[in-house]
Amino acid sequence: MAAQGQLGREHQGITLRGSAELVAEFFSYGINSILYQRGIYPPETFTRVQKYGLTLLVTTDPDLANYLNNVTEQMKEWLYKCIVQRLVVVISSIESGEVLERWQFDIECDKTAKDDNGPREKSQKAIQDEIRSVIRQITATVTFLPLLESACAFDLLIYTDKDLAVPEKWEESGPQFIANSEEVRLRSFTTTIHKVNTMVAYKKDSVP
């Protein structure tokens, strides 16, 4: 049934709802990959799943999975309404509270898609290929990102439109920038309705 649905989607093109789902799904797997690769959680708590033609690691920890599900569901809604601009994963040290790494996903939403009734032309496969490259890049960042010495915790920040009513369970927050940071831009992907740019900023080592 799922395969049929996907096939139908491929032929029909991308709708706004479909695009929101794709991007929210990408965020869910992307955040899981970041948590695994940066060692925020023990690697034994991750299990392998096949997605985008890759083997990805997702967490089996029920609390964490729940937490991420909430965020993904909310993102889906906001993406559909085109009111979310950015998703940021902030990795900070537990003891000192200092922000060590900041993964920033910029979202550009084509607002005309809301008024359009017809779906856009872009094959599922092409989008999957682009998403696959971004996820592979996230995996490869472990080769140059500085080691996270202390135990770390992560936080998710979402930049939304000013006039959005803050839903329950969410609160306002600051941007949590890194003081002296080095930035690296990763690849971007687009579904023709939503475009996602990825960037990682990390604390520059004080000792050269």
């Binding site: 060692g39 996270l148 939304t160 369970k169 927050s173």
Partner: protein
């Protein structure tokens, strides 16, 4: 007598090996007792003095060491104390700002407002008026206590724990010989050494290929590229050892005759450098930076007989199985593809298996010589795992974390073992027992990452080329002469049984 007491006191103070009795607790001890995190913003300051008075009252005249142990018995959560259990969830800065901002003047002149807005955009990276930032409230998930980031273990370890069981054979920890390999290119994706069945070791040093005769020790320069910036990217001997295939950065695949030291063919079909080569009798397969694999039939003029498109990034590992039925390829896109030797129905080559489990580039690809359809692959820096596969069923038979970039894997023909070459931090070769996957030995010596491994024709010696510009020969699979005789007897016995049954 007073002066002796004075002297004793003085000595006691100067020795400094016992804690000074009756001294006020040092600043770090006070901080320890408070067991709070480092920065203490203004918003929390009213509580602090209360804390301090409590802790100081606990230590009337006990020595600081003793009171410290008492405090440690009380349970402390990560970064919290009994007033604020979990400091990391509190937004001290925000709270402080909100508490104190009522005193600030509200409005400014229009110019000032513009300036403030410009500052805000600069500082925040976005227009504060247009967007706001939301954060999911509630405790951010923390990893279970006592969990140490395993990457730290990876990058800080000095010695990896080897197997405690004594090896049944002696493996010399020093290389047999060290050859100089100046100008060798430090590029993970190239395959620059190969050992022929005629006991010649071919080494590609930047734009030249040198042959080293193992028996006599003499060195011949086989070729040097004319183009100034071109370099050799791969070398591979044909099974008989009389022809050498050379892949170049200019996308050519050349075939050289060793006897006459002449180039026989120059096959161009790729558009990017040819990083890896593999022979299957008269078919030469080449993998390029574009991700395409070409089959060349070296006997005919139209050499390019097939194209395999299975990788989207550079093909760095390529090996035909020993029976010639499958071709395994690994790429920079973290995929391992297993290709059949014949085309499928539509005339196209499609992989019979694709393995996506590696999280890094797969350069190390090797077929097991004593078990059919068993393939070993190793991942690069992001992955560091060695995986053994059954290519018929597609299952991963076993995995082991090698804790370091894997550049090459070679199976031994003399023992049921395989050797893997590694990079940071120890640049070692590791010999593993199969199928138990235990470490038999670790061979250290290289001072920079190992790039390639190749095996001698008699299976006793492994040559490793590394970025430290040396090629080291390790005599790790030496056969016991008694065992060797037994093996030869067994081989001859097998053939005689076959002859008997045919009758």
């Amino acid at each position: 007598m007073a002066q002796f007491l004075f002297e004793a006191d003085l000595h006691g103070l100067l020795k400094l090996d016992t804690p000074i009795p009756n001294a006020p607790p040092a600043r770090w001890q006070r901080k320890d007792k408070e067991s709070g995190p480092g920065p203490s913003p203004a918003g929390v300051s009213p509580m602090k003095p209360a804390n301090r008075s409590h802790s100081s009252s606990k230590t009337p005249s006990k020595t600081p060491g003793k009171s410290g142990s008492k405090i440690q018995s009380t349970p402390t959560k990560a970064g919290g104390d009994r007033y604020i259990p979990n400091r990391s969830t509190m937004q001290m800065d925000m709270a402080n700002f909100l508490l104190t901002k009522e005193n600030d003047p509200a409005e400014g002149s229009p110019n000032k407002k513009e300036q403030q807005k410009a500052w805000a955009v600069n500082l925040n990276g976005f227009d504060v008026e247009e967007a706001k930032i939301l954060r999911l409230s509630g405790q951010p998930q923390n990893a279970p206590e006592g969990y140490q980031n395993n990457l730290k273990v990876l990058y800080s370890q000095k010695m990896t724990p080897g197997s405690s069981r004594k090896n049944s054979r002696y493996i010399p920890s020093m290389p047999d010989r060290i050859l100089d390999a100046p100008e060798i290119r430090n590029d993970y994706y190239l395959n620059l050494i190969d050992w022929s069945s005629q006991d010649f070791l071919a080494v590609a040093l930047d734009n030249s290929v040198y042959l080293w005769n193992h028996a006599s020790g003499e060195i011949i320069q086989l070729l040097q590229m004319e183009h100034p910036d071109a370099y050799i990217s791969s070398v591979s001997w044909i099974k008989e050892g009389n022809y050498l295939a050379v892949g170049t950065s200019t996308a050519e695949v050349q075939l050289w005759d060793i006897q006459q030291q002449k180039r026989l063919r120059n096959m161009t079909s790729h558009c990017a450098r040819v990083g890896t080569l593999s022979w299957n009798s008269y078919i030469l397969s080449s993998g390029a930076r574009t991700g395409h694999i070409h089959h060349h039939d070296v006997r005919v003029a139209e050499h390019h007989v097939a194209t395999l498109a299975g990788h989207t990034q550079e093909v760095c590992g390529l090996k035909w199985s020993l029976d010639g039925r499958y071709l395994a390829s690994g790429g920079n896109d973290n995929l391992v593809n297993v290709w059949p030797c014949t085309q499928g129905g539509g005339g196209d080559f499609a992989p019979v298996q694709t393995f996506t489990q590696h999280q890094g580039a797969v350069k190390a690809v090797a077929w097991c010589p004593w078990q059919m359809n068993v393939l070993a692959t190793g991942g690069g820096t992001s992955d560091r795992h060695i995986r053994i596969w059954n290519v018929c069923s597609g299952t991963c038979l076993s995995t082991v974390d090698a804790r370091s970039q894997v550049c090459s894997i070679l199976w031994s023909t003399n023992y049921k073992e395989f050797v893997s070459g590694h990079g940071f931090a120890q640049n070692q070769l590791v010999i593993w027992k199969y199928p138990t996957m235990t470490k038999v030995a670790e061979l250290q010596g290289h001072t920079a990452r190992i790039l390639n491994l190749t095996m001698s024709p008699d299976g006793t010696t492994v040559a490793s080329a590394a970025a430290d510009e040396t090629v080291r020969l390790w005599r790790c699979f030496e056969m016991d002469p008694i065992k060797k005789k037994e093996k030869e007897k067994a081989n001859s016995a097998k053939s005689s049984i076959i002859h008997q049954s045919i009758r």
